[in-house]
Subunit: 177 residues, 2 copies
């Protein structure tokens, strides 16, 4: 069965962005030739789920090639219908239905690329299988939290930790069966 | 100069307790003969700072011997005066003044043993020198957060990570000068 994975960076105090979607803290760990396993990870997936706000943010900041590159199915979770763009589908239905359908399809794994709202919605329904969380050595003090209040408790299985010269620490967990 | 250190356990989603001060998640990593470096750490300190609620909680749950054992100076941060008990002093003044005074005194390091309110107050004033954070492999979903909103950003220096058989991961950072 296909798995859904998170692959996300957070500050030590649990923020994935400073206020106003400010991601400049990621520059602290930018290093030429170091992608922190991102390419290897994305090779394990052929489908991306992403919230509409995050999608629009990436479209504006990085450009359409990041998602709409024909390499992967991209499901943008939104309340507003939009026509499909290449392999990018704007999905307005129930998210748990989508996940159940995708998991029962054949294919590589599924990457949940945020934002926090969609991650927390999936966690509420115990639908995340793998968590790969990169901790940036900084306290941001305020911003968008990776984990929101009001989810059920969930025991994880620790898989491994990787450390990097920049001080980034990458924690790998999976859902306990 | 003496340093102030945190040594605290949190869930992966950043909670140090479930609602109603429920610390039962710590049982997930209990293992005979494994103290996760606590004894070695406490040997480096001779002074403890602790919030009044946490102090009362420990007094009720563990008993007076944990703090009032004559081994260390204990400063309980409180708004209500109480008479000193052995080396346990109830401190009602300004916390930054206390820290400045303690740091300029001779001695071993200072252990800030929580709770979240006092930790965040110290972080607001950039007064924590070392952070030793043990991540328990669980998502609690709600409870008392280690880090509260509304602190200044602060870059940290990553020192090391230790992993344990139980899945606990211990991250060591220090304040960047």
């Amino acid at each position: 069965m296909r798995k859904i994975s998170l692959f996300i960076a957070t500050s030590l105090d649990g923020y994935i962005a400073k206020p106003n979607d400010d991601l400049s803290f990621l520059k602290l760990v930018e290093k030429q030739g170091e992608d922190y396993g991102y390419a290897a990870f994305t090779n394990t997936v052929d489908t991306v789920m992403i919230g509409r706000r995050t999608y629009d943010y990436v479209l504006k900041e990085i450009g359409p090639s990041h998602y709409d590159n024909g390499q992967r199915d991209v499901y943008v979770i939104t309340s507003t219908e939009r026509p499909q763009v290449g392999r990018t589908i704007f999905y307005t239905g129930d998210i748990t239905e989508l996940v159940k359908r995708l998991k029962s399809d054949k294919g590589k794994n599924i990457y949940c690329d945020g934002g926090a709202e969609i991650i927390n919605e999936l966690l509420k329904h115990d639908l995340i299988d793998n968590l790969i969380i990169s901790i940036i050595p900084v306290l941001l003090g305020s911003g968008t939290r990776l984990f929101k209040d009001g989810r059920p408790a969930q025991i994880l299985e620790f898989i491994k930790v990787k450390t990097f010269e920049t001080g980034l620490t990458q924690l790998h967990y999976k859902r306990k069966k």
